[in-house]
């Protein structure tokens, strides 16, 4: 086998690995995961117009956006669809005081520390990272959550930042002069390009 052949095969292997590593098989991007209750964001957000913060109530104050306790579900579902067999796990949870065990869709590795509240405060929309949740009947990831993806924004926040009032607006569309707006908002919101390792790793 010639040197060229070896390089070719080696390079090919690396390319394959790279492709596999970025494929939905590994990243789960676009893959709807099984959940104990087939909860539809599409129905609740787009259909009923419930705000993100009704359920994810600590997104503006804490690192964790917060997962709604069963109580929150039951505040409506003790009245609406109260007998639906699909919602039996929710009622059982409430009855037996046992938590619903959801499957985590956006799962950062243990050595990465992310804070929702500061991103929301600095004008990063929910949809920027989580995609059009209002169009997802079941939840899936639209982004890899790889470090290269985080850094896209941390290096150039002006490309993604939006006015604070639009953060929870799922249908927000970036204007054609996003860069101009972005630069203005970066200035206004005092957004810093935090790329130090210890910002996320500690």
């Amino acid at each position: 086998m010639s040197i060229f052949g070896a390089l070719f095969i080696g390079g090919g292997l690396l390319w394959v690995l790279n492709e596999v590593n970025r494929s939905p098989y590994v990243t789960d991007v676009g893959v709807a995961l099984d959940q104990p209750v087939p909860f539809s964001h599409k129905h609740h957000v787009a259909g009923l117009g419930i705000d993100c913060r009704y359920c994810h109530s600590t997104v503006e104050i804490s690192s964790s956006a917060g997962m709604p306790p069963t109580e929150t579900c039951m505040s409506c579902h003790s009245q609406i669809w109260a007998d639906s067999p699909m919602l039996e796990p929710v009622r059982a949870s409430f009855r037996n005081d046992q938590s619903i065990r959801w499957t985590r869709v956006h799962d950062l590795p243990g050595f990465v520390y992310f804070n929702h509240s500061i991103h929301v405060k600095k004008g990063i929309g929910c949809a920027t990272c989580h995609g059009r949740v209002d169009q997802m009947p079941l939840m899936w990831k639209t982004n890899t959550l790889y470090m290269e993806w985080c850094l896209e924004c941390h290096r150039q926040p002006e490309r993604f930042v939006r006015p604070r009032g639009q953060v929870f607006n799922m249908a927000y569309r970036a204007p054609s002069d996003q860069l101009a707006l972005g630069r203005k908002l970066v200035e206004e919101y005092k957004i810093r390009k935090l790329t130090d390792c210890s910002v996320c790793h500690r």
Binding site: S62, F94, S99, Y113, K190, S198
Partner: protein, 989 residues
């Protein structure tokens, strides 16, 4: 690997070398001065030879199998998917709880019965970290090392988890049934034959419960015993004043302090506050700086910060106290003084000169006479009411516990005890040997024990009940000044344990009451119904009930007390000196890995106790470190390894209690030897007539004093107050650094924050609280004795203890060392993977998931502050330890380097909060774990770019210096040089 240090050092040569030393020479160990092969091995190699070898004998065939397997699996690793994770939300969310944000609750930890207020950090209901309670008089925001480590005891997997009956698993209902029968029998006899044994009780509720029980059973008796009880303080007050008043020191008011063998800055109730007050006066410098004299046998933390320290055998402290008293005209005869000529006169003159602002403190381990004399001297000097205050007793029943135990043991042996209820403590292990507690106990028909561990005592009891940890159950306790704290639980009992209050309620026939109700009802009765709910809530929130400090009391010293005292007898020959251990106390913390692995403040030994002797005594006996000695006193013997401690008194051997446990947890069982067999009720803290002989055996000790050595190089800088007045900048002129601008590396620009730290050597007592606080905050693992001996301890802070001067009476200085976060960090440039690099705020960051474990960084670090995970030291398997960890810090795996991060998780959290409010981080908003816990506030952290920050001001202080500055590493951690305030009248001699 380190060899056992059993070769005889030439101590006379070391002594000569030190005497001829040019100028001030600092040294860490005898091996260093002698430049032994063992010491060289640690210095020459960052990692001691053999460090990277896996000692498990792995055969060639196994190796080949492993190789084959790893090749086969290698290709698969890249395709590993992240394991799926579950989200488990609440069913009904508790009010006020915000996931991701910790909550803090005030409570108190007790040691020896006395409370120290703490704030406990709780993440989603899991207590993870102890902080001091700034409002609490015994804490002022700081804690000691014991409180820091108590979180590990809570989650200790070895804690007792079930009710045991005759050693077999039983249950609480069976115990309730048994108590029903027991009470019937007892009521018929009015409680005759029933005894209750507790440790020191300050809890008002528990005291009331005991009182009620004794009212119901008038023939029953309540005994108190714990080894480190303050019997002499109680006895001394009775002797001097005729009543057992409580003594409170106002250290901050004292200009001159004489400590008679009292380690008042590091142990005992109130020590954390005393340390704060002491350091505050120390820091003022100039004329306001206080002066501390201490006489003691083994050097203590307090001794290491004293201006004058006189090594005296413990039994010689009493004649010394007599001599000082006589010199001050306190009406007592003056027998011969053991102190060198001039000492007593100089000390007495200084005390007299500062009459009204001087203070004499007697050590808890000194006999009653010394306490009475201290009271008499303080009275004569007019210090009472100024630097020392007397109050009603804080303890519910201030008894001399040695006597209480002796009576109980006698009654047990005589068969007069039918039922014994042991609440806490561990008397089978730690009762005085002559009490023969074990033999007595076996004669008791019904033995009931409530304890945290299934220990030596539980092993001999019919019933063992699992006790709640203080973070699991309701309780109350008083601080050194009487202030009451309601202890509130942070978590439901992990193992269904019961508190002492709950067990006493059962014994009183009240059945199963909840601890909360018992405590609350008691206080409702005491404080009255009006406005009670509000008072109760305020007390829980603040961590204390306002206005519960005991009232000061006017007492006068009895004129004739001295006449009643036997003349102190001079001791011939060797003397035994028993002391509670500086890290595991009386043995109660023996199963706590953090405290076991914590280097003792003076010896830097871990995992063991030793027979501490002075170099001259070692020379006379021909003993080297690690040689096993046999100690014989009053017909009782124990064996333990010798350790030569410079500065120890001659002809005296100090042995720490608490080791040699035989039952009570995987960690407790094993290390060290028990000194309790030498402890008798007539001489609880040792005495004369000790025979020491060599056994020929050697014992391997794990000592960290030679690890991470920086080999001299003017690391510690100090001066006397006079020298400081002449040249305030003395510390900055010790070495001549290079021109700062001359550097091959580019300068960093810090536009935002620029973090830095200043450590005040003038305040550091080497108490170790910071080391444990860091361990708790940063999820630092315990590695075990064998690994420590190889130099692999993982603590991010080490406290270097330096000796200065001669071998027999050196001065001591402590220097906490953590990552210096150098601007020109030598570690950063050698990392091949960029795992350690520089942040825009000056932090030297460590990225664990980039680290491949080359260890080049550690090799290149001149401060020797990097720690490598040679094995998977973090316990990833024990379920009970998982909730303990700080969720904001990565739990490291095998093969990565780690080190101090300046608590970057706390910086990040402050940054996020400040940016949300659109402002800069305020000074004091980021407090590192070590800074928060420091009793003397020796550590200050902050933003050096903010000219008004405390740290920026300290960096401009003339005492500020960076160590190894001459290497131009530009460390961000700098030190404030130490000042001493010696008495010019007193030439060292």
């Amino acid at each position: 690997m380190m060899q056992p240090k059993n070769s005889l050092l030439d101590l006379s040569a070391i002594r000569a070398r030190l005497e001829n030393a040019r100028g001030e020479e600092y040294w860490r160990s005898l091996d260093e001065v002698a430049q032994t092969a063992e010491f060289q091995a640690f210095v020459d190699n960052e990692f001691t030879p053999g460090t990277s070898e896996w000692k498990n004998p792995l055969g060639r065939r196994d190796l080949l199998k492993l190789l084959g397997a790893s090749i086969a699996f290698a290709g698969l690793t890249a395709c590993t998917k992240q394991p799926p994770e579950k989200i488990v939300p609440y069913v009904r969310a508790p009010e006020d709880m915000i996931p991701g944000k910790p909550m803090y609750f005030a409570t108190a930890m007790t040691l020896g019965g006395y409370a120290a207020g703490v704030l406990v950090e709780s993440h989603m209901g899991r207590p993870t970290k102890i902080e001091g309670n700034p409002e609490h008089p015994a804490s002022l925001g700081a804690t000691d090392a014991f409180a820091q480590a108590s979180i590990l005891t809570l989650y200790d997997p070895d804690r007792s988890q079930v009710v045991l009956r005759n050693g077999l698993i039983s249950n609480w209902a069976a115990f309730l049934a048994e108590v029903g029968l027991l009470r019937e029998g007892l009521l018929a006899k009015e409680g005759a034959g029933m005894r209750i044994l507790t440790e020191t009780v300050t809890s008002p509720t528990l005291a009331q419960q005991l009182k009620d029980l004794l009212a119901e059973f008038p023939e029953a008796r309540w005994h108190q015993y714990e080894p480190a009880a303050r019997d002499s303080a109680v006895g001394g007050a009775k002797l001097a004043f005729g009543e057992p008043v409580n003594t409170i020191h106002r250290i901050g008011q004292a200009d001159v302090i004489l400590s008679l063998d009292a380690d008042f800055l590091a142990s005992g109730p109130g020590s954390v506050r005393y340390a704060r007050e002491f350091a505050a006066r120390r820091r003022e410098g100039g004329d306001r700086m206080n002066r501390l004299y201490i006489v003691e046998a083994a050097p203590s933390s307090t001794g290491s910060i004293a201006d004058h320290r006189l090594p005296l055998r413990a039994s010689d402290v009493e004649p010394f106290a007599w001599a000082v008293a006589a010199a001050l005209g306190v009406a007592v005869p003056a027998p011969g003084s053991p102190a060198p000529s001039g000492w007593v006169e100089a000390v007495a003159a200084d005390l007299k000169k500062h009459a009204g602002s001087s203070l004499v403190i007697a050590g808890d381990q000194q006999p009653v006479a010394v306490h009475a004399l201290a009271h008499a001297i303080n009275a004569a000097l007019g210090n009472a009411g100024k630097t020392v205050v007397y109050t009603e007793p804080v303890e519910a029943a201030p008894v001399e516990q040695g006597e209480s135990m002796r009576q109980l043991a006698e009654d047990m042996r005589a068969g007069r005890v039918e039922t014994l209820v042991i609440i806490g403590g561990n008397p089978v292990y730690n009762a005085p040997a002559d009490c023969e507690f074990r033999q007595g106990l076996l004669k008791v028909k019904r033995r009931i024990r409530l304890g945290l561990y299934d220990d030596e005592t539980s092993g001999l009891c019919h019933w063992h009940l699992a006790e709640t940890h203080y973070l699991e159950g309701w309780g109350d306790a008083r601080a050194f000044d009487g202030t009451v704290t309601i202890q509130q639980p942070l978590i439901a009992p992990l193992y269904g344990g019961k508190s002492a209050h709950e067990v006493l309620a059962v014994l009183s026939g009240k059945g199963e009451l909840a601890g909360h109700d018992i405590i609350k009802e008691y206080w409702r009765g005491r404080l009255g119904e009006a406005g009670f709910e509000k008072t109760w809530k305020t007390a829980l929130h603040d961590g204390l009930i306002a206005g519960t400090a005991v009232a000061p009391k006017n007492v006068s010293v009895r004129k004739d007390f001295a006449a009643a005292l036997p003349a102190p007898k001079g001791q011939e020959g060797m003397e035994l000196c028993l002391r509670p251990d500086p890290t595991i106390w009386d043995g109660r913390f023996a199963n706590n890995g953090w405290l076991q692995e914590l280097p003792k403040p003076l010896t830097k030994l871990t995992w063991d106790n030793t027979v501490l002797i002075s170099p001259a005594t070692a020379e006379r006996l021909g003993v080297a470190n690690g040689q096993v000695l046999e100690l014989r006193r009053a017909g009782r013997t124990v064996r333990g390894a010798a350790w030569i401690l410079p500065g120890h008194a001659e002809n005296s051997a100090t042995v720490h209690l608490g080791y040699g446990r035989t039952r009570g947890g995987k960690i407790a069982e094993g290390p060290g030897f028990s000194a309790y067999p030498l402890r008798t009720s007539d001489a609880p803290w040792g005495g004369g007539g000790l025979a020491v002989s060599k056994t020929g055996a050697t014992y391997k000790l794990a000592c960290t004093q030679d690890h991470h050595s920086m080999e001299g190089r003017d690391l510690v800088r100090e001066a006397t107050v006079d020298e400081y007045r002449k040249d305030p900048h003395f510390a900055q002129h010790v070495v001549h650094g290079p021109v700062k601008e001359l550097s091959l590396y580019k300068e960093f620009k810090y536009e935002g924050h620029s973090w830095g730290m200043a450590v005040d050597l003038n305040a550091c007592t080497g108490c170790n609280a910071c080391v444990v606080a860091c361990q708790a905050e940063n999820n630092i693992p315990v590695v075990g004795k064998t690994e420590v001996a190889r130099g692999r301890e993982m603590q991010w802070i080490r406290i270097d203890r330096y000796f200065k001067g001669g071998l027999d009476d050196p001065e001591v200085c402590h220097q906490p060392m953590m990552c210096h976060h150098c601007d020109h960090a030598p570690c950063e440039v050698v990392c091949p993977t960029g795992a350690t690099n520089h942040s825009s705020e000056g932090l030297n960051q460590m990225v664990y998931n980039r680290c491949v474990g080359t260890r080049y960084c550690s090799n290149n670090c001149p401060y020797k502050v990097r720690r490598f995970n040679f094995f998977l030291y973090s316990d990833w398997d024990t379920k009970s330890l998982e909730p303990m960890r700080n969720p904001d810090v990565t739990v490291r795996s095998r093969g990565v380097m780690e080190k101090c991060t300046y608590c970057v998780q706390r910086i990040n959290s402050a940054r996020i909060e400040s940016e949300k409010e659109g402002r800069r981080i305020r000074d004091g908003e980021v407090v590192t774990a070590c800074q928060a816990v420091c009793p003397t506030q020796a550590i200050v952290f902050g933003d050096m770019n903010d000219p008004n920050s405390r740290v920026a001001k300290l960096k401009k202080d003339p005492l500020n210096y960076g160590i190894l500055d001459e290497l131009n590493t530009k460390p961000r951690t700098t030190y404030l040089a130490r000042l001493r305030n010696p008495n010019p009248e007193l030439k060292k001699g």
